[in-house]
């Protein structure tokens, strides 16, 4: 709950209603653009958050180091950096290490030490394991065994920037105007039942997967236990983290297509399953049997991204808002439509995706409009 005596409550309201804000935009042609529009759009939804978390994920970020894993690390204590760097030298070849450039500013206080490292994992030639699996393993190891160290971004050619503050302040803090990407997602946080701290800000990340989330995942406990069986350890003290690991497991490791991943996370209601054609019903039932532990219960809207793809998804009865719009090669996904039209007044199509049906932008492919938007099927009467 928001502290109503907090100076941010400038109108001294006796009740403050907030919600998280999400915004993502992707140019499916791969054109790189600055984060100015993303920052302006998420700032327009300022009132949804309360300053206890803001963050961004940027793809196409480090073209000069595109083949290296970019580790963004928070050091919350004095000895954390020394211990972590020993660990990194043991496990990785580090080609470059630097402090993430920041600017101190009001609105973003008590930042941890923020460093980034471009690395390749050092492989034991006797082990048959992919680089990705090795990196996941090492990130989990660092986050669970080195005190005060949190690797909060570990993908190639992308990066997460997040912290405590309103998203527009966090953008300024990280000097995001110096970066370009073809896909930006962002988040303004209103923490409900977990602490607002630097690691708990969104996006959550593993490898190049990021997730921003509005809602609350009440199945967190069962999701977390399921993921632990597959080597993922939750360390960020908040529910959204499970969604990032779930998509890595489902799509990267198990090779499911995005639509199937959506069926697992936002599974159709049983009465709907009963009406499906035989083949589909059997598949959906099998998915529930295999992946019941990854069903996300409770209200959610997610923007999931990885290299080359941005996905918007809500829970099956859409208890949290989601708007989508298209202009040329650019797909927008947002909690509020006004944030989209603010930065792109001449959108070509806008729609509200149905619960459980993903909106997908994919590099090099035109954005797929929902079936209802089949213009042939929508000859309006009288206009």
């Amino acid at each position: 709950m928001k502290d109503i005596l907090n100076p941010d409550n400038r109108y001294k309201d006796d009740k403050v209603t907030d919600a998280c804000s999400l915004f993502g935009m992707m140019d499916v042609s791969g054109r790189l653009f600055s984060g100015a529009d993303t920052v302006r759009a998420i700032a327009n939804m300022h009132d949804r958050g309360n300053g206890l978390g803001g963050g961004f994920a940027v793809y196409g970020l480090y073209p000069d180091f595109a083949d290296y894993y970019a580790l963004h690390i928070m050091y919350m204590g004095r000895s954390a950096k020394d211990k972590t760097e020993v660990f990194l030298k043991d496990e990785f070849d580090v080609v470059r290490s630097e402090e993430i450039p920041i600017r101190t500013r009001p609105g973003v206080t008590n930042p941890p030490g923020l460093w980034r490292y471009f690395v390749t994992p050092r492989k034991d030639p006797c082990l048959v394991v992919s680089d990705d699996d090795l990196v996941v393993d090492k990130v989990m190891q660092a986050n669970t065994t080195i005190p005060d160290t949190f690797i909060f971004s570990s993908g190639k050619n992308m990066g997460v920037f997040k912290g405590i503050g309103f998203p527009e302040d966090v953008a300024d803090f990280y000097r995001l105007e110096d970066y370009e990407g073809y896909l930006w997602t962002s988040h303004g946080r209103f923490p409900t039942n977990t602490p607002g701290w630097w690691g708990g800000a969104h996006p959550f990340n593993i490898l190049d997967w990021t997730v921003v989330h509005n809602g609350e995942i009440s199945s967190y406990g069962i999701n977390r236990r399921y993921l632990e069986m597959h080597g993922y350890h939750c360390t960020m003290q908040t529910d959204t983290e499970v969604a990032a690991y779930a998509v890595d497991l489902l799509v990267r490791r198990h090779g499911l297509p995005v639509s199937t991943m959506a069926t697992v996370l936002a599974s159709p209601l049983w009465e709907e399953v009963d009406r499906m054609p035989d083949e589909k019903r059997e598949m959906v039932t099998a998915l529930r049997q295999a992946y019941g532990g990854l069903l996300l219960n409770g209200p959610f809207t997610l923007i999931i991204a990885h290299n080359g793809e941005m996905i918007g998804l809500t829970d099956r009865i859409r208890l949290r808002p989601l708007s989508a719009a298209v202009k040329g090669d650019v797909l927008f996904i947002s909690s509020e439509e006004s944030a989209i039209t603010l930065v792109c007044p001449d959108i070509e199509r806008s729609w509200k995706p149905r619960g459980g049906e993903p909106v997908v932008g994919r590099l090099g492919e035109p954005v797929a409009l929902p079936k209802e938007w089949d213009v042939q099927n929508r000859e309006a009467v009288g206009r």
Binding site: D47, E272, I317, E336, E337, S338, G355, Q376, R383
Partner: protein, 273 residues
């Protein structure tokens, strides 16, 4: 600041407000003072997500909105006519009392939430839970007319009022896609033009045809809708409407409270006469 943003014409009866970058508090405070000073028509330009526009204004002024207004447009509205030249977001007409909201586009989720009076006309589609818990008392009865179709839970927990979906955006199949229509509905009425299957309806609604008085009401509402959006009423009224009505006054009574007269189980749900 305020002087630059607001321009008055025709002896102050018409006002034009540039709202870009304005917080909703300031915007609503400008609206209140303009209405108090006797403005009849207020144009808001560059609107981008400001919430609660027009809240608690209690005179029949005209408010024209250019841009996309934020959530809870016209909440507690008590008399004005608000026209949106574009789409509206979630919670449009939240708990409105009197007045009219006209949306030249789509409206978001929970359109008409808890409305207790007034009229809402949406040219195209609406999101989830439109008309959720609309209510009525005495001669206060809200009407929500949706030109297109709705997403799931249309008329959820309806406790009064009239909800109409004309299906004009459905195309040839004319098939509404909404599921759980009228779930938990216990008063009021829903009229649908277009095809809807039994499994799309909540367990608490029955299906029938509108009676003569209701046909007249539909004609009035459709004619008003068509007037705003330049549609030929005859083209809308050429097809029959389906009427959905609540089967029970207290559908969940036995779930949460001691059962009526000691009768156990669902039989104690009181039937509407």
């Amino acid at each position: 600041m305020r002087v630059e943003r607001v321009k008055l014409h025709e002896n102050g009866s018409v006002a034009r407000v540039e709202t870009a970058g304005l917080h909703y508090r300031e915007l609503n405070s400008i609206l209140r003072s303009l209405v108090a000073d006797g403005a009849d028509r207020i144009e808001l330009h560059g609107v981008a997500g400001q919430r609660y526009i027009g809240t608690d204004l209690d005179r029949p002024v005209q408010i024209e909105i250019f841009g996309v207004p934020g959530n809870d447009l016209g909440s507690f509205l008590d008399g004005p006519r608000v026209t949106v030249h574009g789409n509206a977001q979630d919670g449009c007409g939240n708990t409105m009392n009197r007045g009219t909201i006209i949306v030249h586009g789509m409206a978001g989720d929970i359109t008409g939430l808890s409305a207790r009076g007034g009229n809402i006309f949406v040219r195209d589609d609406v999101g989830y839970r439109a008309g959720v818990h609309m209510k009525e008392f005495g001669d206060r009865r809200p009407n929500l007319v949706i030109g297109g179709t709705a997403q799931d839970f249309l008329g959820e927990y309806m406790a009064g009022g009239v909800l109409v979906a004309l299906g004009l955006t459905l195309g040839k199949s004319a098939h509404h896609l909404a599921r759980f229509i009228g779930t938990g509905m216990h008063a009021g009425v829903i009229f649908l033009r277009g095809v809807v299957e039994e499994h799309q309806l909540g367990k608490e609604v029955g299906v029938t045809q509108p009676d003569e008085d209701e046909e007249k009401l539909l004609e009035e509402l459709v004619t008003e809708y068509c007037g705003y959006f330049e549609v030929e009423p005859a083209k809308v009224l050429d097809q029959p409407f389906v009427k959905l009505f609540p089967l029970y006054l207290r559908p969940y009574g036995p779930l949460y409270a001691p059962t009526h007269r000691g009768i156990e189980g669902p039989v104690s749900r009181w039937k509407v006469k």
